[in-house]
């Protein structure tokens, strides 16, 4: 488990991270969301030990991260940085070797990843000759090729087409399923919503929200319900403790002052006929994000 505790970082007089704390559990996909300049990349670089925090610490299973732990991480930087004129497979083997793998293991891992990421046919092409999407896949392979125990990925989905997104999601999910903590940042909130177990929202260098997707939805859910029945729903307006927000014949959206008030609406609707749907409205990640960074 990765544990980030009270991390503070300043550049000159500008504090870019303030008391940042969160955890990335084993086998847990954690989305790291924030606007540009919010502090995501700085946090990730501190996690890797490439950058030192002014205060705070990063722990792996309760032990502070040291330089020698770097090989345990798979990191994909936002600024890509593969050698443009080097062939894809050669580049992956090279990076794996720098991480300490034997030549045979490096070649085996490279072939395996290229297969899983759909790049086998491009193995002999130079990086600069690949499409942007394939360059991105190669970059992801570079982060994974030394078989890391932890993944820290900065915008791994940017520039990927929907098909490639699915492929990469599947590869990352495979890592998490085998117990690796996976932290990734993304501006594509729909992907984060689909893929993540946990979510960390950062703004202006401070963690604004942190927890499982379910917990965050619960925390930020409004007392708003929607109902669809076979008949007219106009009667809801006269119910005590209820304010109708939207109404369209057999469909209504309303806010209930108490749980009892909302349940009373449901009970009354059943007495009038079949109820097709009745549910509490769940906020989307985008809604939560907008709400917490506002």
């Amino acid at each position: 488990m990765l544990d980030i505790r009270g991390v503070t970082k300043s550049y000159g007089t500008r504090e870019v991270l303030t008391d940042v704390s969160f955890t990335v559990g084993d086998g847990c996909m954690t989305g790291f969301v924030g606007a540009n300049g919010a502090g995501k990349t700085t946090t990730m670089r501190i996690i890797l030990g490439v950058l030192s925090p002014d205060e705070g610490t990063v722990l792996i299973d309760s032990v502070p991260v040291t330089a020698s732990d770097r090989r345990r991480f798979g990191y994909m930087p936002e600024e890509r940085g593969l050698y443009p004129k080097m062939k894809v497979a050669e580049q992956l083997v090279y990076l794996a070797r720098l991480h300490g793998l034997s030549p045979a293991s490096a070649r085996r891992n490279t072939a395996d990843l290229l297969e899983r990421l759909g790049l086998t046919e491009r193995a002999g092409d130079t990086v600069e000759s690949l499409s942007l999407g394939n360059q991105q896949r190669a970059q992801i392979a570079a982060a994974l090729v030394h078989d890391p125990e932890f993944l820290v990925l900065d915008e791994p989905f940017s520039g990927l087409d929907p098909l490639a997104v699915e492929v990469v999601m599947s590869v990352l999910a495979g890592y998490a399923a085998q117990g690796a903590p996976v932290l990734f940042s993304s501006h594509q909130l729909d992907i984060v919503e689909r893929l993540c177990d946990d979510l960390v929202i950062i703004a202006d260098g401070e963690i604004r929200a942190n927890g499982s997707g379910e917990a965050l939805r619960e925390q930020h859910s409004s007392p708003r319900f929607e109902i669809r029945t076979e008949g007219d729903t106009g009667w809801i307006r006269s119910q005590p403790g209820i304010t109708v927000i939207d109404f369209d014949g057999d469909f209504a959206v309303f806010e209930a002052e108490t749980d009892a008030a909302s349940q009373a609406v449901l009970r009354h609707a059943i007495t009038l006929g079949a109820v097709q749907t009745f549910s509490q409205q769940r906020p989307s990640l985008a809604t939560i994000f907008k709400e917490v960074i506002a």
Partner: protein, 347 residues
């Protein structure tokens, strides 16, 4: 997830991988590879051409009258004769176009007549007769000193070649890697900074050896350098090359602006050349300027190389120059490794 966990990285292995990768990258980058040796070959060909045009082309063969002390004259006349140069011990024909006055292990060559002869063979013969190059002066009838442009400028050409390899061929690509984010990626591997920096050297060092070898071959072929001198020159080249690499690493240790470093790399060799005392004769420079220039490490290299290539006298002993170059190399290399950043945001 695959099954091969990373083992403890071996420094030698990482060094090998990085060195091999650097070599391949340099090979792939044809333009870059060409540019790092271009300056050397361009200058060398320019100097050779100029030297031929100024001192050799279309000049008549020398007819020499040798004067002075008998002890010096006799071996010189023998040497001139063995080299096919027409020479007499007195002005008896009136057809001579050069005179050589030998005295006290010094020789003064004066080119006479409307059409001065090829004189470089005369200097070679005088040297072969046992008079050191530094004790030989050549001038025309009006007293204008004649210079063997190739011999005088070989140290500078070697220095330019080394500096081009170090600065344009090493510092600029390193900063480009940082600018492109490659260093950021490599910075997340267990590779140590010193290992990474050191691994940039082998392939470039080989290029430097090409320069050193060519200059050495020319020096031997032209008779500029003795066997002892060649050994000393080789040591000077090795130390100089390493010193220039150290400065290149220092230059590249923090910047992420490859264009700026490219401009600086283009200017440094020229500045260093003019400051080395090999372009402007030391005699015309004021004493305070000479003292200031002698503080520059590039001057140390040029003067140490000039001792064996051009027969010039350095401002201090060559071995002291070596010690100073070595000390600076170690100090600057360690400083470069210490302040080197994978990414400028790491500062």
């Amino acid at each position: 997830m695959t099954t091969s966990r990373a083992t403890t990285p071996r420094v030698r292995s990482a060094f090998y991988e990085l060195s091999a990768s650097n070599a391949r990258e340099l090979y792939r980058n044809k333009k870059g590879s060409f540019s790092i040796l271009f300056m050397f070959f361009f200058l060398l060909l320019l100097i050779v051409g100029l030297n031929f045009a100024v001192n050799d082309g279309n000049r008549p063969e020398p007819i020499v009258a040798v004067t002075g002390a008998a002890a010096g004259m006799t071996p010189l006349l023998v040497t001139l004769d063995s080299r096919g140069v027409e020479a007499t011990s007195a002005r008896i024909t009136g057809e001579e176009n050069a005179t050589i006055n030998v005295n006290d292990n010094h020789a003064a060559v004066v080119l006479t007549g409307q059409d001065p002869p090829r004189w470089i063979p005369l200097v070679e013969a005088i040297e072969a007769s046992g008079i050191p190059y530094a004790n030989i002066a050549v001038q025309d009838e009006s007293g204008f000193a004649q210079v063997d442009l190739l011999r005088a400028n070989l140290p500078a050409v070697a220095a330019i070649g080394f500096m081009a390899i170090a600065f344009m061929g090493t510092a600029v690509p390193l900063v480009s890697l940082r600018q492109r984010g490659t260093l950021r990626l490599l910075g997340t591997t267990p590779v140590k900074k010193l290992t990474f920096i050191a691994a940039q050297t082998p392939v470039r060092f080989a290029s430097g050896m090409v320069v050193a070898l060519l200059v050495s071959v020319i020096s031997i072929a032209m008779g500029y350098v003795s066997v002892v001198g060649l050994a000393r020159l080789t040591a000077t080249f090795l130390l100089g090359l390493l010193m220039f690499f150290a400065f290149a690493y220092l230059l590249a240790s923090r910047s992420r602006n490859a264009e700026l470093i490219n401009h600086i790399s283009a200017v440094i060799p020229v500045l260093a050349l003019f400051a080395s005392g090999e372009v402007f004769p030391k005699q015309i420079l004021p004493e305070p300027v000479l003292v200031a220039l002698n503080v520059l490490p590039t001057t140390w290299f040029a003067q140490a190389a000039g001792t064996d290539l051009s027969g010039t006298t350095p401002f201090i002993d060559v071995y002291l120059l070596w010690a100073m170059m070595l000390a600076v190399t170690i100090g600057v290399a360690l400083l470069a490794a210490r302040i080197f950043v994978w990414d400028d945001r790491d500062r």
